[in-house]
C-alpha cells in the first residue's frame, strides 16, 4: 500500500512550502512574487496563518480555495491594501508593504470587482490611473484599450458598460504600467462561457509574453485549464503548492472498476499488490460518476499497471466491464490533501 508520504514525494505536492521556496531560490532567478510566512490577525482571529509561496517569471499561478478561505485577504496583502501582522511580500525584490510606491510599479491588479468611476468615460478612467505613474502616455492608453478590445466604447461613460466590459476595462487599467505581475481575483466571476474562454486565451497570451499572472479561484477546473502551478489554501493555511497537472494526475486520480461479478473482481483486486482498493475514498469522488457506475470499485493504481491487472482478471475468468479514471473535484482533492496532512507522521 502506498503511504501518504510516498504520495507527496512522487507527486510534487509539498506540505512544507517554506522549504520548497528556499530550494527554488537557490537554483533559479529571483521570483517575481515571493511571499514569506505571511500572517494576518484581525480582532484576535487568525485570518491568514503563516503562508508562503512564490510566483516565477512567465508562469500562470493559481490560488485555489473555497470561499472564505482567505484568498482575497491574501491578495489584499500582496497589493498593500492590508498590512500583514507578520511576514513579508516581495515583488521583484521590493517589499510591497514597506515600499509600496516601488513594489506596486511592477504590479497590475483587480481586487474583487473591477470598480471604476462610473461618471467618467473609460478613457478618462485610464487617463486618471495613467497619471499616477511615470511614463504612461496617450499611446499606451490607446494600446491597452486595443488589447482588451474596448477601443470602440472608450469614450462612453463607464456606468453604461456591461460587466464583461468593466472587467476588460479593469484589465486594461492593470496592464497600463506594463506590469511584471498581474493579479486577478476570481476573474471569471460573472462572465459567460464565451467570455471565460476569451479570458483564458488572453491570460495565456500574456504569460507567453513573459508576464506572471496570479489568478485566484474556487473552481478546480478553471485552475486546471489555466495554471502551471497552484497553491491551495484552506482556512487561512496553505495545504499544498505544486504543479497543477501532477497534483491532479498522480496524487488524486482514482480508477473505477466494474466487473461482471463484483465479488470475484474485488477479491482479485485486493490480492494484487499493485492495486489499492480505496473504499474509504468513496466520499471524495464525484457523486455523479459513482451513480453512473453502480457497483464500481474505487481504487488507486498507477496508470501503467492497469493493462496487467486487466489481463489477470481476464485469466481468472472475471469479465471486466469498464475501467475508468476519474478526475477529482476540488472537494475531493481538498479533502484528500487535508486528510493527507492529518495522516502524515
Amino acid at each position: 500500500m502506498q503511504t501518504e508520504a510516498d504520495t507527496s514525494s512522487t507527486s510534487g505536492i509539498n506540505s512544507n512550502p517554506p522549504l520548497r521556496n528556499n530550494a527554488d531560490r537557490g537554483g533559479m532567478q529571483a521570483p517575481v512574487l515571493f511571499v514569506e510566512r505571511l500572517s494576518k490577525t484581525i480582532r484576535g482571529r487568525k485570518i491568514i496563518d503563516d503562508i508562503s509561496f512564490d510566483v516565477r517569471a512567465g508562469e500562470v499561478f493559481g490560488f485555489l480555495g473555497p470561499n472564505g478561505s482567505g484568498k482575497t485577504t491574501t491578495i489584499r496583502m500582496l497589493v498593500d491594501l492590508i498590512k500583514p501582522t507578520s511576514g513579508r511580500v516581495l515583488v521583484c525584490g521590493e517589499d510591497a508593504n514597506k515600499h509600496p510606491e516601488r513594489a506596486l510599479r511592477y504590479v497590475g491588479s483587480i481586487v474583487e470587482n473591477p470598480e471604476m468611476y462610473g461618471y467618467m468615460t473609460g478613457w478618462e478612467n485610464l487617463d486618471l490611473f495613467a497619471r499616477m505613474q511615470d511614463g504612461i502616455g496617450e499611446e499606451r492608453i490607446a494600446e491597452v484599450a486595443r488589447i482588451v478590445r474596448l477601443d470602440e466604447r472608450m469614450h462612453d461613460k463607464v456606468k453604461t458598460y456591461s460587466l464583461g466590459m468593466r472587467q476588460r476595462l479593469g484589465i486594461a487599467q492593470a496592464l497600463l504600467g506594463a506590469p511584471k505581475l498581474l493579479i486577478l481575483d476570481e476573474p471569471t466571476n460573472g462572465l459567460d462561457p464565451k467570455g471565460i474562454k476569451e479570458l483564458r486565451a488572453f491570460i495565456r497570451e500574456l504569460a507567453a509574453q513573459g508576464m506572471s499572472v496570479f489568478v485566484s479561484s474556487h473552481l478546480l477546473s478553471e485552475i486546471q485549464l489555466l495554471c502551471d502551478r497552484v497553491a491551495i489554501i484552506d482556512a487561512g493555511r496553505i495545504i499544498a503548492v505544486g504543479d497543477v497537472h501532477e497534483m491532479i494526475a498522480q496524487a488524486e486520480a482514482h480508477t473505477l472498476w466494474l466487473f461482471e461479478d463484483p465479488a470475484a473482481g474485488r477479491r482479485i483486486l485486493s490480492e494484487d499488490p499493485r492495486v489499492d482498493v480505496a473504499d474509504r475514498d468513496r466520499a471524495l469522488l464525484d457523486e455523479a460518476v459513482l451513480l453512473a457506475l453502480p457497483g464500481a470499485i474505487p481504487t488507486r493504481i498507477r496508470e501503467a499497471d492497469v493493462p496487467g491487472v486487466v489481463a489477470r482478471c481476464t485469466e481468472a475468468g472475471v469479465g471486466v466491464l469498464a475501467v475508468q479514471r476519474v478526475v477529482p473535484t476540488l472537494e475531493s482533492l481538498f479533502l484528500t490533501l487535508t486528510g493527507g496532512e492529518r495522516d502524515a507522521p
Binding site: R76, L81, E101, M120, L128, Q173
Partner: protein, 328 residues
C-alpha cells in the same frame, strides 16, 4: 512635484465630473435672487416710511432703547441690542449711512448671514464624500494599489478640497454681487464701514474704531469666512475618512454644524461650550462688533479654537488613512 500636481488634477477632475460644483452653482443661482428680492422689499418699505435715512436710524435707536427697559427681554438679547444702539449712534454722530442699498453692501450682508450655515452646507457637498465615495464605490482599491504612497493621495485630496472651498467662496461672493447689482447697482466699493467696536460688559469701547471701505471690509470678511469654511471642510474630510458611507458622513457633519448654531443661541451660561468648533464658526460677529455667542470669546480665541480643531482633524485623517486596512 509634477506627480503631486497630477494627483491634485486627478482629484479635481473627479469632483468636477461628479457635478458637485455645478449643483452648488445652481443652488446659488436659485437662492440669491430670492434674497435679493427680499432685500428689495425691505428697501422699498423703508423708503415709503422715511424720507431721510437719519430719521429711520433715530427711529431704530429709539425702538431698541425702549426694548432695553422692558423686563421681558432676556439678558443676552439686551446686550446685543445695547451694542446695536451704540453702533447706530456712532454712525449717526458721524453722519454715515449704515444701510445704503448697493451690490457690495448686499454681498457683505449676505456673506455675514451665510457664514454660520449656508456656506458650511455648500462646503459639505464637496467635503463629505471626497474620501468616503472612493470606499463606497470600491474605487479605493484601484486608487491605493497604484505605486503612490497613501499620504500623497490624501494630501492631493486635501489640496483639492482647499481649492474648491476657495472657489465656492469666490463664486458665492461673485454671484451675489452680480445678481444684486442688477437691482441695487454695482457701486458701493468705497463707502465707509466702521470696524473695531469692542464690548466691555455693557459698555462699547469706541477708541479703536476706524473706517474702512466696503471693498476692504468684504476682503476681511471673505478671509474670516474662508477660515471657518476650511475648518468645517477638514473636519468633514476627517469624518469622510472615518466613515464608509457618504450619507452617514454628510448627516454627521450637518448635525454638527446645525447644533452649533442652536448652541450659540442657548449656551451663553455654559462657558466651556466655547471650546466646541461649531459655536465658533460665525467669525463675522467680531468684524461687526456684535457680542459673541458666549462671553469671553474673542476673534483670537475663535481662530485658535478653529485652528486646533482643524489641525487635529488633519492629523487624525492622515494617521487613519495611511494605516487603515482596506477590508471591503
Amino acid at each position: 512635484m509634477r506627480r503631486n500636481l497630477e494627483l491634485i488634477r486627478n482629484e479635481t477632475v473627479k469632483v468636477w465630473k461628479k457635478k458637485r460644483f455645478a449643483v452648488i452653482l445652481l443652488i446659488l443661482l436659485v437662492l440669491v435672487p430670492v434674497f435679493v428680492y427680499a432685500q428689495m422689499k425691505i428697501a422699498q418699505n423703508s423708503e415709503d416710511k422715511f424720507t431721510d435715512w437719519r430719521a429711520e436710524l433715530r427711529q431704530r435707536i429709539a425702538d431698541n432703547t425702549n426694548a432695553l427697559s422692558s423686563d421681558r427681554i432676556p439678558e443676552e438679547w439686551k446686550k446685543w441690542r445695547l451694542a446695536l444702539v451704540q453702533q447706530l449712534q456712532y454712525y449717526l454722530d458721524r453722519d454715515v449711512n449704515p444701510n445704503t442699498t448697493n451690490a457690495v453692501r448686499f454681498t457683505n450682508t449676505f456673506l455675514q448671514n451665510a457664514v454660520g450655515l449656508f456656506i458650511p452646507l455648500m462646503v459639505l457637498a464637496v467635503a463629505s464624500d471626497i474620501v468616503s465615495s472612493e470606499r463606497s464605490g470600491g474605487t479605493i482599491k484601484m486608487l491605493l494599489t497604484r505605486p503612490v504612497r497613501r499620504w500623497r493621495i490624501l494630501a492631493a485630496k486635501l489640496a483639492t478640497l482647499t481649492l474648491y472651498v476657495s472657489l465656492i467662496l469666490v463664486v458665492t461672493a461673485a454671484v451675489s454681487y452680480l445678481i444684486s447689482g442688477l437691482v441695487f447697482g454695482y457701486g458701493g466699493w468705497r463707502e465707509p464701514v466702521f470696524v473695531g467696536f469692542r464690548l466691555h460688559g455693557s459698555d462699547m469701547d469706541t477708541t479703536g474704531v476706524h473706517a474702512v471701505t466696503q471693498g476692504a471690509y468684504m476682503l476681511m470678511q471673505l478671509g474670516l469666512v474662508w477660515f471657518s469654511a476650511m475648518t468645517v471642510a477638514v473636519i468633514a474630510f476627517m469624518v469622510s475618512v472615518l466613515v464608509r458611507s457618504t450619507a452617514a458622513s454628510l448627516v454627521t457633519m450637518m448635525a454638527a454644524v446645525i447644533s452649533g448654531s442652536i448652541l450659540a443661541n442657548m449656551a451663553s451660561s455654559w462657558h466651556s461650550a466655547k471650546y466646541l468648533f461649531n459655536v465658533n464658526l460665525d467669525l463675522s460677529v467680531y468684524l461687526q462688533g456684535s457680542p459673541p455667542p458666549i462671553e469671553g470669546m474673542t476673534l483670537g480665541f475663535s481662530l485658535a479654537v478653529l485652528g486646533v480643531w482643524a489641525l487635529a482633524a488633519i492629523g487624525v485623517s492622515f494617521a487613519v488613512f495611511t494605516r487603515q486596512d482596506i477590508l471591503a
